[in-house]
Symmetry: C2
Subunit: 384 residues, 2 copies
Amino acid sequence: MPETIPEDSVGLVSPQTMQFDEPLEFACGRSIKSYQLVYETYGQLNANKSNAVLICHALSGHHHAAGYHSMDDKTPGWWETCIGPGKPIDTDKFFVVCPNNIGGCHGSTGPNTINPETGKYWGPDFPPLRARDWMEAQFRLGVRLGIDQWAAVIGGSLGGMQAMRWSLEFPDKIRYSVAIASTMSLTAQNIAFNEIARHAIQTDPDFHDGYYLEKGTIPKRGLVQARMLAHVTYLSDTLMGDRFGRVLRAGDFQRGQYNPIQFEVESYLRYQGEKFSTTFDANTYILITRILDYFDLAREYDHDAVSAFSHARCKFLVISFTTDWRFAPERSREIADALIAAGKDVTYAEIDAPQGHDAFLLPIDPYIRLFREYMQRIADEVNA
Amino acid sequence: MPETIPEDSVGLVSPQTMQFDEPLEFACGRSIKSYQLVYETYGQLNANKSNAVLICHALSGHHHAAGYHSMDDKTPGWWETCIGPGKPIDTDKFFVVCPNNIGGCHGSTGPNTINPETGKYWGPDFPPLRARDWMEAQFRLGVRLGIDQWAAVIGGSLGGMQAMRWSLEFPDKIRYSVAIASTMSLTAQNIAFNEIARHAIQTDPDFHDGYYLEKGTIPKRGLVQARMLAHVTYLSDTLMGDRFGRVLRAGDFQRGQYNPIQFEVESYLRYQGEKFSTTFDANTYILITRILDYFDLAREYDHDAVSAFSHARCKFLVISFTTDWRFAPERSREIADALIAAGKDVTYAEIDAPQGHDAFLLPIDPYIRLFREYMQRIADEVNA
């Protein structure tokens, strides 16, 4: 709970819900007749509606990107570091929109909501989505909010993948694309980690082939396992060493007796896993990791990223972090190289930071400074 | 099945069993009254018994390091690449001994054997071992075989950790220590991966707090999960990319229809996990990963590796592989640096290889050449 709301926070915010009663057809060929999106907005839309920014969340994210839901809230939104008055995504200058994606589990229509046609949870029968399905839903939300063109579509990790996909799906509807700690496609190692996480969930006896909500249970063990594993990939080896090292939480190494030993890092990961398992839906985890695995920006352009990006009309900011081993700097350099070869306006920065993939969420000075200055230029342009 | 045994293989071999009826006291303070070790030997002990080499196996290894058990054997021992006539560990020149460590699950006394005092499986009640307990058991095996001093103690990964520990536990009983793809202690990230693997096993409902054998079951899901995860850490990102990339085994990405997709890498990992789960004991997996986590070569020397190695009297060969991210080259450089500072004779080589941690098992030309030449020098010395 914040004693007082910090001055550079958007403060108390409330999620909103938008109901859509027109069908949405997905890339898989299936469609849903109606759906709803939960979203938050920060800042004010300007008179000519040119200052709207779309925030795309990553795997474990949601619509609550900044501010507090109440004075009892212990933590602010997930991107509080970057969204607020005077922050990179400056809410004094931008109208910021952050939806929970369709298929998510924080209020938008997804596996943990009721399918009105059956009266039961969607569960594993929710259509298998692709990233482009999110684009369509996000686009429609923008239309409803009176936004014809986004000043910028912005995201980190999977959010960055959406920001790039936007530049190809709706080239005229986006002025800037900001892809942070992102990639044009997952590597075999990335896919492997996702597959192991899914395996943990799917083999949990409480998973019940995905129909666990009907059974009144959740595959808690699997979710804990999935989150522990994912969490390791979000941190650098260096950061884990600095933060936990080989420090013990319990027991000791004394000879001649046996005191069960627990390392700090074990305790930390179990805590993270437990916390996640109470707030995230297992079917959504499977659905979104599949979206990650399937994502391949250049697939429909003969696997040629230059050809893909030649369809874009916006400008690009691409940022990576030196110790990110989930989506390594090399992945972002590939993006920047392809954009340059496609003749696009791209700013690329590789930030020297020890925090690994999660760096995009953290107050790292050179990152925040660069991000703020770039966004300031956009603000000047769209508010001119 | 080999049609014919290759000329550079030790050929058909048989495991042997050595029974020990003197008590073995462990570092934890507990002891067992009797135990047995399963082991294999290749080559002949020379007249002055100076050419014996001890092979220490890693987490998933065992006594069957080279050759074939029968003409129906599909695969040879796990270090066939390095052990045999004319190979680095040349069985024409060395008498090679490879035991399954105590606490293991391939025939030596361990959690999946019967505790004679209770008539039941040891299971989770097997004493929690440390690496030094293995040294003592290996030492006694050497004595029984008439070996007063090992020409070399050799191992990769956890095997290399044993080879180093030998140089401190029995400084007069070892002439050369060869530590390949190894480390003086695990990093927080290493521990995290082990913990996640243990968590998978321990939360499998079939684990029954470790008493699964009494219940007539095994925690198969947990073992599959543990192995899939470990396997990813044994391979480099590059190798996984080269071998699997984003190739599909099933399904396709066509729009407008939903064909469930499976990547090659998923299929491969599931196969590896399934195979492992039928051959490895879950309690042993927990026991050995704990040994890995606890291992800290310098702990009892004020955490000063130079001080630790000052007790050694042997010479050292240390080898690392550029893309090994489990025990990175930096870990081996720390070993080499400490040995140099301690005034020891050390040869250190960092092999440029794309295969990651598993490189120590593979026929990588510069690695094999260096290893062979180094071992040749030892052979000349001990057979002189």
